[in-house]
Symmetry: none
Subunit: 230 residues, 2 copies
């Protein structure tokens, strides 16, 4: 999961502790500019914004995270009792709020519920193998939370591999299953695509696609390969 954007910097100690105990990764930011600057490549996983001390700065951050092309979701704001009325004019800037001082269990429950809802909204078709994730609806892929920029054929090949882990395929089989049954082309085409896939997977994951000499390629760990360390 992508880290949460937390305001202010440093955040209230109890908030930091609650997030840590809840197992969330997060990064504190002091203003909207820093929030944009430190944003992960595929966006913040959400935001927790404490408004008590600097409500103006807090809502300005919320606004900058929300009112843009790829809005951050979910956003939880922490407010004091006296600030409750201020929320009314800013309903669109947050998804949930908690009264400060808060009980850690309440904030934890709110975050859990927010992520439940945002995950529930549109459950995409996902193919997973280890840290590798393929989103079939958006044609996007990521490994170890790092987005992969794949071309169409690379994506199709990786999808085929991921959905048939551990099995060895000859180049001819791959050509017919991935490229199409009537495809007639050189077998070296497969080699080149495998090479590019390995490169994009990164050195540490290149071993996911193994060469089986004189036969073809295999994806993932073979079942009998228990004696060999990676």
């Amino acid at each position: 999961m992508d880290p949460l954007c937390v305001f202010p910097d440093p955040p209230p100690p109890l908030l930091a502790q609650t997030l840590d105990l809840g197992g969330y990764s997060w990064k504190a930011v002091g203003n909207a500019a820093i929030a944009l600057q430190h944003e992960p490549a595929d966006g913040w996983g959400g935001a927790v914004i404490a408004c008590e001390d600097d409500p103006e700065g807090a809502f300005s951050i919320a606004r900058s995270l929300r009112r843009r092309d790829n809005p951050v979701e979910p956003i939880l704001v922490l407010v004091s009792g006296g600030q409750l009325a201020d929320l009314e004019m800013r309903e669109d800037l947050f998804d949930d709020f908690a009264l400060s001082p808060f009980h850690p269990h309440e904030v934890e429950a709110r975050l859990r519920h927010l992520f439940y809802k945002s995950g529930q909204g549109a459950r995409p078709e996902i193919v997973e193998y280890g840290t590798l994730v393929l989103n079939l609806e958006t044609y996007q892929a990521a490994i170890a939370d790092r987005p992969l920029d794949l071309t169409y054929m690379e994506y199709e090949l990786l999808k085929f591999f991921t959905t048939h882990p551990g099995k060895v395929f000859t180049r001819e089989t791959l050509l017919s299953r991935v490229w199409g049954y009537e495809y007639y082309g050189g077998a070296r085409t497969v080699d080149v695509h495998v090479r590019r896939l390995r490169a994009k997977l990164g050195e540490e994951h290149a071993g996911l696609i193994q060469t089986v000499r004189s036969v073809g390629y295999r994806f993932g760990q073979s079942r009998w390969q228990g004696h060999k360390a990676t």
Copy 2:
């Protein structure tokens, strides 16, 4: 607005008073059967369920209101601090919760926010995505507070995109879903409309519609859903 379904009967005095002061009409029910029996013709306008005294009965009501063809929304539950953990297994039964004893202003703010959000969902006259706002009643659109002068087809295409963010659609799918199922025309039509949309969105927002080569188009930043939030 349709009356709210409130549990238990009679509700805690402070809850009744809060609802009255907030201007909500409501009706107390003692169990799921009575809730169904007294339901208005067009359904409950929402529900507020206090779980402190009879959690079993409370969640059974929530279940019966939610797990059916026309689920009641929104549902706010009131729980004691010790019941927070019980919520985890029932994330789908409520939209928001408040800790009891509660401050009237907090419950008021939560109800207001719930209705604000469900107002978005239930009333289809406004569609929002980031700074992009579509008014379905007036056929007007704006991005970053700048009005967009869209033609009919441009508007329909943008509306379809905005209501299905993150997903990739082939040109054929777009033709059938936006233009009509029986439409038979060139796929390049989609390209041209996408181009004009991008132009009218402005250079800074043109990236909202992304090209997925050999596949089609995708709107908005696809969020990496699919990881578990826990």
